[in-house]
């Protein structure tokens, strides 16, 4: 038994982050990755000859700046091809509103402008408070350590420190839906549609679903580039982040074995003893840290028999129904989005013309059907980073919602083609000529994302981000502080606190918990 040896399962960005911190904490770390490249869902893929896109997530807006600094990601090659991108809300006509650092521009009312200021002030304040607690292990609510109790007390104190008005506002809006809140601040349907989409991207929620304020705050609580909520594109696509993390990890002494999948986590006397690879090879270790989602980790890799029935039932009930499909298009020239000037195409484009539209897009997902009029977040990364496409040509990367993982009809080729047609038709309402420019394309449904990235349900948070699966109860009671019931086994992926997105935060906190706990 090699006590100081840790195996990290999965070289996703959280796995790499965790591995790097653990190695710096003095452990002997091996990362085992099933696919032949690192990055997991933070990858860049060439989906057509010479055309490359970020395979899953495509914008950076939550990357933990402590991770960037402490691991020296910039020294290890992290670069952005664009920073501080604005959001342009598209309507089926040519009406456009830009939501940027300077506020709103476009056809909006005075109430929209002042509402935006107040809304931004308030949500950034709440997100700021939240971010402190998203950046540390969540305390246990009872039977906790002194540290847990102190954290809780400080949380209470921090909420009080918001002052009476803001505190009341936080307690009021914290658990409700973004739909009602945006109606209190804004007139413009386009603005409300675009902001509400931020609240529901990647979730099984519509703007009217209570909890969607929380998801909005979560998004905002990450470290934007360069300010909260601001978007950036990594050079070379999301794989650029993975590459920097890989270098940082290797520099710290991490060994990365890719192309070898873990078949199971081995247990001896209720303690992990290592992993067994699918080819039968056994790797011994004192600790195993899994960046796979909780369901995969517990049910597939560990095996239910090593845990208690109630715990297994909780893991089984963890909701992780992915709803976001990914559309990648290779274009033979710059696309034309009427109303958006050519230089502005580098910004993020949102198609969610109003909140009711977004809510209607969500409705079918509840019944296992895809939206016939979907909402989209569109990126044209080659506008900022020409290396992603052959000269003069472009790539389009879009998140298209809603495409439920458990499609009643099943995601066969016919259904995929039909949904692709829907997505392209929707795209054509804001970029009429785009179909003629497509030279290649692909659509990844949540089922594809599950298969490709080994994420249960293809859910990018590895588990729905809603209050009943958040913070004190994430992913499930009994595993909220990264340790699983079997000694020596930890979670470090998006399923753990605080959640998904390209953050590195779960990986970082998990490593801290392990190092501070002096485990092994």
């Amino acid at each position: 038994m090699q006590a100081r040896r840790i195996i990290v399962i999965g070289a996703g960005h959280n796995g790499l982050t965790c591995a790097a911190y653990l190695a710096r904490g003095g452990y002997d770390v091996v990362v085992v990755e099933a696919s032949d490249h690192v990055g997991g869902a933070a990858d860049t893929r060439e989906f057509a000859d010479g055309f490359r896109v970020s395979g899953c997530a495509h914008y950076v807006y939550q990357l933990n700046q402590q991770v960037v600094q402490e691991l020296g990601l910039q020294q290890h090659g992290l670069e952005y091809s664009a920073r501080d991108l604005s959001t342009i809300a598209l309507s089926p006509g040519e009406q456009r509103v830009t939501i940027g650092p300077g506020g709103l521009s476009g056809p909006v009312t005075e109430r929209d402008r002042s509402g935006h200021q107040e809304f931004t002030r308030l949500t950034e304040r709440f997100a700021g408070l939240l971010s402190r607690y998203l950046n540390q292990a969540p305390p246990r609510l009872a039977n906790g350590t002194r540290k847990d109790r102190l954290t809780l007390a400080r949380l209470g104190w921090d909420i009080r420190r918001l002052g009476r008005d803001d505190m009341r506002e936080l307690l009021r809006v914290g658990a409700i839906n973004i739909y009602d809140v945006l109606n209190e601040f804004f007139d413009s349907d386009l603005v409300k549609g675009a902001i509400s989409l931020d609240a529901v991207l990647g979730t099984h929620m519509g703007p009217r679903s209570p909890n969607s304020v929380l998801t909005y705050l979560y998004r905002l609580a990450g470290n934007g580039v360069p300010r909260p909520g601001a978007l950036a594109l990594p050079r070379g696509g999301m794989g650029g982040i993975a590459a920097a993390l890989e270098r940082a990890a290797r520099a710290a002494g991490v060994e990365i074995r890719s192309g070898t999948a873990v078949g199971r986590i081995t247990v001896s006397h209720d303690r992990v003893s290592g992993v067994e690879l699918t080819d039968g090879e056994r790797l011994e270790a004192g600790l195993v840290v899994s960046s796979a989602d909780p369901r995969t980790t517990v049910l597939s890799l560990l095996g239910a028999r090593h845990c208690e029935t109630g715990f297994v039932r909780r893991i089984h009930n963890l909701r992780c129904r992915g709803n976001a499909a990914k559309l990648h298009l290779a274009l033979d020239g710059p696309p034309d989005f009427p109303g958006v000037g050519a230089p502005d195409l580098r910004h993020r484009l949102i198609f969610a013309p109003d909140m009711d539209y977004a809510e209607r897009a969500f409705n079918p997902a509840k019944y296992g059907e895809y939206s016939t009029e979907p909402v989209m977040e569109i990126a044209l990364p080659s506008m900022s980073d020409p290396s992603l496409a052959p000269e003069g040509k472009h790539v389009l990367s879009a998140i298209v919602q809603y495409a439920p993982y458990q499609l009643k009809a099943g995601w066969d080729d016919g259904q995929k083609q039909a949904f692709l047609d829907v997505a392209l038709a929707t795209l054509a309402t804001v970029a009429p000529g785009i179909r003629d420019q497509i030279v290649a394309g692909e659509l990844l449904t949540p089922a594809d994302i599950e298969a490709r990235y080994r994420i249960s349900g293809g859910h990018w948070h590895h588990g729905e981000l809603s209050l009943d699966q958040f913070m004190f109860v994430r992913p499930v009671p009994g595993a909220t502080q990264y340790a699983l019931p079997v000694d020596g086994l930890f979670l470090c992926g998006a399923g753990a606190h605080p959640g998904g997105g390209i953050t590195g935060t779960p990986g970082r906190i998990a490593a801290q918990v392990i190092v501070e706990g002096g485990a092994a």
Binding site: R305, E308, T309, R313, H316
Partner: protein, 396 residues
């Protein structure tokens, strides 16, 4: 399942032996056990009780919940489910076991019959299909309820073995306690188990064979004092044997509402059923902690109480002032000639150094009196005759 026009929910449920039990029930004393019409007593509870202590009493236990557990992982599944080491229970053996929730609190107790390799029957007082199915996650095993399909009789008492022999069950005398065997080409299963703490057997058949079984049994037992026995008599016998009754002496952990009302096996005096050395099982981590820290909050104790006033629902005191617990089952034991009780007391008061007293209220011609009666904590069952274990049993 809609039979004869009315769905099962709006019909009275009858056990497979109802045609026989209804004929036998001179007192017309019944209660609803899980909806089934079952006898409290047939002619006189104390005579029925003495039948099982002196000759043979027959109890209809059809309403006991029964599950059939099969599949390649059946053993692994059960071993993870219960606190006992099930790998030691070979085919043809029966295990009394408890199963716990994650927190190490008892959900229920019951008997597990290892019918053949990979095939088990679990028999319990409560209904647990939801939990048993949740526990199948990750195991290649199937769990099916067969309560209504399987009829069962408990045949308990000193002459029970002889009666079964007379019934033609050759070699039954060689069946050891907690053994099981089959007769009639497998149609009849007999296990040497029971809830009376005496020599006794339980007979298991498919529902369609039930009435025939009853008739054969009573015919065979005619000369050996066989009698039908109701719930009242069985309850007396089980208290003497020191057996716990779910929903009386403890509550299923997944159904308690108030904090602290569930019990661990240690707190129920069933620590001997917990094997912390075997592979992981539900509640193991919590139980290991409880054992290591000595953090049991309660103790289940068997009490012999001075005097002859039954201590039903009595408070238990350490000394005569400090209230430390309460009685869950109590009776005057006709066979032991003792005033006995099962009680739950706060740890660590469950010992004779605590000088326990029971606060007993009793009524004589409408007037209530109160006594504080000294209690002695005993380890052994109140009634535990050697014949219970003798193989072969003496031929009465």
């Amino acid at each position: 399942m809609s039979v004869a026009g009315k769905p099962v929910s709006e019909r009275v449920l009858r056990t497979a032996f109802y045609s026989r039990t209804s004929e036998a029930n001179l007192l017309n004393k019944w209660h609803s056990w899980r909806g089934y019409t079952t006898a409290d007593a047939y002619y006189d509870a104390s005579i029925e009780y003495f039948a099982c202590r002196n000759a043979t009493g027959v109890f209809d236990l059809c309403p006991m919940t029964k599950y059939r557990i099969t599949g390649p992982d059946a053993l692994a599944y059960l071993d993870r489910l219960v606190t006992r080491d099930m790998t030691r229970i070979k085919p043809g053996r029966v295990a009394y076991a408890v199963w716990c929730n994650d927190a190490g609190k008892v959900i229920d107790d019951g008997t597990i019959f290892h019918l053949s390799q990979g095939e088990y029957r679990l028999c319990a007082y409560g209904r647990h299909l939801a939990w048993l199915l949740a526990a199948t996650l990750g195991f290649d095993v199937s769990v099916e309820e067969e309560t209504d399909e399987i009829a069962a009789l408990a045949v308990q008492g000193p002459t029970s073995c002889a009666i079964l022999k007379d019934m033609g069950l050759d070699g039954i005398e060689n069946l050891k306690p907690f053994g099981l065997t089959h007769f009639d080409h497998g149609q009849l299963m007999v296990s040497r188990t029971g809830f009376t703490g005496d020599l006794g057997y339980e007979l298991w058949v498919e529902r369609r064979f039930a009435e025939n079984l009853w008739d054969r049994l009573f015919e065979a037992g005619r000369l050996r004092g066989i009698r039908a026995m109701g719930g009242d008599a069985l309850d007396m016998a089980r208290i003497e044997a020191g057996f716990l009754q779910a929903e009386v002496d403890f509550l299923p952990a997944d159904q308690v509402v108030r904090p602290g009302r569930a019990r661990s096996p240690y707190e129920l005096g069933l620590g001997w059923l917990v094997d912390l050395e075997k592979a992981n099982f539900n509640g193991r981590r919590a139980l290991a902690r409880e054992k290591a820290e000595g953090s049991s909050v309660w103790q289940m104790v068997k009490l012999v109480i001075e005097g002859n006033k039954p201590a039903d629902a009595s408070y238990i005191y350490a000394g005569t002032r400090k209230q430390v617990g309460f009685v869950t089952s109590a009776m005057w034991s006709p066979v032991a000639k003792q005033n006995i009780a099962l009680a739950t007391v706060k740890a660590p008061y469950g010992n004779n150094e605590s000088n326990l007293h029971a606060e007993i209220y009793y009524q004589r011609e409408l007037h209530w009196s109160r006594v504080m009666a000294r209690c002695e904590v005993v380890d052994k069952p109140f009634w535990d005759p050697p014949r219970r274990r003798a193989t072969p049993p003496a031929d009465y």
